[in-house]
Amino acid sequence: MIFSSELQEFTGEERTEVSATSYRVLIDVLVAKYSRLSFDQLTDLAVAIDGVIIVDPLLEPLSSDTEVHFLHFVAGG
């Protein structure tokens, strides 16, 4: 897990390793680990899983060594 500058204000660290089999589980793990993070806060963000940006990844499976970044939703013109 690599946190954006904004999320680091809530996590106090730039990166962490957690065990999760899916994005849905990952959110629960992170909310449990960092008391200042909320479920809605995280699910309001897009995610890059191993460099692939995914919008609404709720059921996305994760495997070992997966790198996850939270990032802002991007809207275009």
């Binding site: 204000e9 940006i53 919008v55 970044h69 990032l71 802002h72 991007v74 275009g76 013109g77």
Partner: protein, 739 residues
């Protein structure tokens, strides 16, 4: 898919399916719909930039013969009533910009509705307007929203301000990076409020039936978004509202939101009649969503060998009257063409008494990348390095860590820079009073939800039913992708953009997502059809589907000599299981970023400050150009809009906050006669996450022109340019100040 491959249909310059309708005038746009019993709606707009509404008296207007309904903010009934979108569509107790809509009136004729607007009495308390970021951020600035507390600080401020949001992004140690630098350049840059300049004004025709079932016909980039936003404001179930997307005469991001539709529906409900509303050009400029004005500071450090060691920016974006500028995307894009370890970007979203901004091609990116690219060019000049070589030395490539999160997969910036370096344009000599500018641009491109149904006909032709309004020739691209996948001629497929009741949800056309995401849905639907075709053929031949191949639109029995064409299978579909119809409902992932590099030559008249673009080349990575003509068109269109932004376009406000140039005579967009042919070079570095390698090309092309043009002007006059536009008076001023 990551390797370049040969295609049979993709890459053809086929005639667009909607072409004949558009060149003959048969195509129906927003204002072209007429319904029996239809009446006309008009909007009363604020004559002030900032004022409290103390009282509204509509009695005289309502008494006018022919007036059938009046709609105000009080007619928006939902819990979401206080949402900014609703308050932008009709003002509540305060008007926040010149032209802010206050109420709507519907009458039997347009003229009566106009006359009725003049009969409305409104008592205002006029307030001092805030028209610029600096003024808005001053400690004693009048507040647009007295309850707005800046978000984004670890400790929330205790007092309200006009700064809606503060954002910070960082990588590495920027201070350490500057210490490593041999040369540091910094500067303040201004970009003005600009409009997308679409030709077709906003327009809709609506009907609210007795049972509450409603219909909206409108020009939009996303009719599902129109449905969602309108239903939300009016408290309607989505099933009660059908939205039909008309043909669209340009959007460029400006038609991703709503202005008229909820008002028109209220007027229709109250009057019991269909209602048409059409903005005039004055209204489009005053009250639709322009692109943000910005004030941005950028500082970059580099070693004498060209290695960039640190990049820093402080970005201020005007949001207009309500929070929500594309500042965040400016922060994410400003330095993304560069593989630099140390970056720090701070952004501010600031409200001012101007219309709420809307998306405009690569929203947020042109302004931030303008400042960054200008400083990169100055760095190259200072260390005596070719600007392309400097960029090649620091170019983002596969594996580069971005400031916004992920590392890049394969991207085509280096290929674009090499194409620029090898172009005849870059090698051409310049004459006196001429200058050359170069700039790069980055845009993410996006995926998202798209839905497609491919209905096969008994003769083997098919109808592609999609939900993505066609702005830039996407029907033709869908047709070609279906043809490639089915291995059948493109003209066998008829693409149509269906309404919200006849195709499943599709996100709007924008962000360069349609050819990528809706194209993937088309491919998936085609694969579904092929699967069904093979199953039907297998059933006829009494073999398994696995024993059936598909080639050139023909099912082949690998266990024998049998062949069945698509037409034969579809003709017999009634006897083999019924209609063959493929479906592709996806949430596309893996959008591939698109980089662009532009070269601009200008000639400046030193007596008048007039700038002429004399040569221009736009280079961009398309991933794969499905229809090369429309890809080139996107590159050229983006370049021209960016040139306008750089050289002429700006909203001009008086001290009273009133817009002084709401029309194309005074808001000068570039015309064909103003410009040379825009040469385009399409680079193809396939996106590994699209079956055909597509990236999307609609956005990146508007980013580089700002810096390419401005730097060319600065080279021509041998003086620095900081503020846009480079209009004659502003260029003349720079010349005089530096002579």
């Amino acid at each position: 898919m990551s390797e370049a491959r040969e295609y049979k249909y993709i890459g053809q310059r086929s005639i667009r399916p909607d072409g004949f309708d558009k060149v003959t005038g048969r195509a129906n746009y927003g204002a072209d719909m007429t319904l029996p019993g239809m009446i006309w709606g008009k909007i009363l707009r604020s004559p002030h930039a900032h004022a409290k509404i103390k009282n509204i008296d509509t009695s005289k207007a309502e008494a006018l013969s022919g007036v059938l309904a009046v709609a105000t903010y009080q007619d928006f009934p939902t819990a979401d009533k206080k949402a900014d979108l609703a308050r932008n569509i009709l003002a509540d107790d305060k008007v926040l910009y010149h032209g802010h809509a206050i109420l709507g009136i519907a009458a039997t004729t347009s003229a009566i509705a106009e006359r009725a607007l003049d009969l409305v009495d409104i008592d205002y308390e006029v307030l001092k307007p805030v028209m610029d970021i600096r003024d808005a951020m001053a400690a004693d600035a009048p507040l647009l929203h007295e309850d707005m507390i800046t978000e984004g600080y670890a400790e929330a401020p205790t007092t309200a301000s006009n700064v809606a949001t503060r954002l910070e992004m960082k990588m590495g140690d920027v201070e350490a990076g500057f210490k490593e630098a041999d040369v540091i350049v910094e500067g303040d840059y201004y970009t003005p409020t600009v409009h997308q300049g679409y030709i077709e004004p906003h327009a809709c025709v609506v009907r609210y039936d007795e049972d509450g079932q409603s219909m909206i016909w409108c020009c939009t980039q996303g009719h599902f978004d129109v449905r969602g936003s309108t239903a939300n404001i009016l408290g309607m179930n989505l099933s009660k509202l059908k939205v039909i997307a008309s043909e669209i005469g340009g959007g460029f991001g400006g038609k991703t939101t709503i202005y008229l539709e909820p008002v028109a529906l209220v007027l229709s409900r109250k009057s019991g009649r269909p209602v048409k509303m059409v903005m005039d050009r004055d209204e489009v400029f005053k009250a639709s969503g322009p692109g943000s004005a910005t004030r941005n500071w950028v500082k970059i450090g580099a070693k004498n060998d060209g290695t960039i060691t640190a990049m820093q920016a402080k970005l201020h974006y005007e949001a207009g009257a309500f929070k929500g500028s594309p500042m965040m995307m400016g922060c994410m894009t400003a330095f993304t063409p560069y593989a630099v370890e140390n970056m720090y970007v701070e952004g501010f979203d600031v409200v001012v008494n101007k219309p709420k901004v809307a998306a405009y091609r690569a929203p947020g990116a042109p302004q931030a990348e303008y400042a960054a690219e200008m400083v990169v060019n100055e760095i190259a000049e200072k260390i005596g390095m070719d600007p392309i070589e400097l960029r090649l030395k620091n170019a983002a490539k596969e594996g580069t860590q971005t400031i916004y999160g992920p590392k890049f997969k394969a991207v085509g910036l280096v290929e674009c820079l090499e194409a620029a370096k090898n172009s005849p344009h870059y090698k051409a000599a310049l004459k006196e009073n001429q200058g050359r500018g170069l700039a790069a641009g980055f845009w993410f491109n996006i995926g998202g939800q798209s839905s497609v149904t491919l209905n096969m006909n008994p003769d083997g032709t098919g109808t592609i039913v999609e939900g993505s309004p066609d702005i830039g020739g996407s029907r033709a691209s869908m047709q070609l992708m279906a043809a490639e996948e089915m291995q059948m001629p493109a003209e066998n497929f008829r693409p149509i953009v269906a309404d919200t009741e006849h195709v499943a949800f599709s996100a709007g056309t924008g962000g360069s997502r349609t050819t990528f995401a809706t194209g993937m849905a088309v491919i998936e639907a085609a694969q579904d059809v092929i699967r069904q075709m093979k199953e039907r053929a297998a059933a006829v031949w009494n073999v398994t589907a696995e024993q059936v191949d598909w080639a050139d639109g023909v099912a082949i029995n690998t266990a024998g000599e049998d062949r069945l064409t698509a037409a034969e299978i579809c003709k017999g579909a009634e006897r083999t299981g019924g209609q063959i119809s493929g479906r592709g409902n996806i949430n596309a992932r893996g959008a591939g970023p698109s980089f662009a590099v532009h070269l601009c030559d200008v000639e400046v008249d030193r007596d008048t400050g007039k700038v002429d673009v004399i040569r221009y080349t736009a280079i961009q990575d398309a991933g794969k150009a499905i229809h090369p003509s429309y890809v080139e068109g996107q590159l050229q269109g983006g370049a021209v809009q960016g040139i306008g932004w750089a050289l002429n376009e700006e909203y001009v406000y008086g001290d009273d906050g009133l817009l002084q140039n709401p029309g194309f005579l005074d808001y000068r967009v570039p015309l064909a006669s103003d410009l040379p042919m825009i040469d385009s070079i399409v680079v193809e570095v396939p996106n590994a996450f699209h079956p055909f390698g597509v990236r999307g090309v609609g956005e990146s092309g508007i980013i580089p022109p700002l810096a390419a043009c401005a730097y060319a002007v600065s080279q021509a006059i041998d003086a620095p340019i900081r503020d846009l536009p480079c209009s004659p008076p502003s260029v003349l001023k720079v010349i005089q100040e530096n002579s």
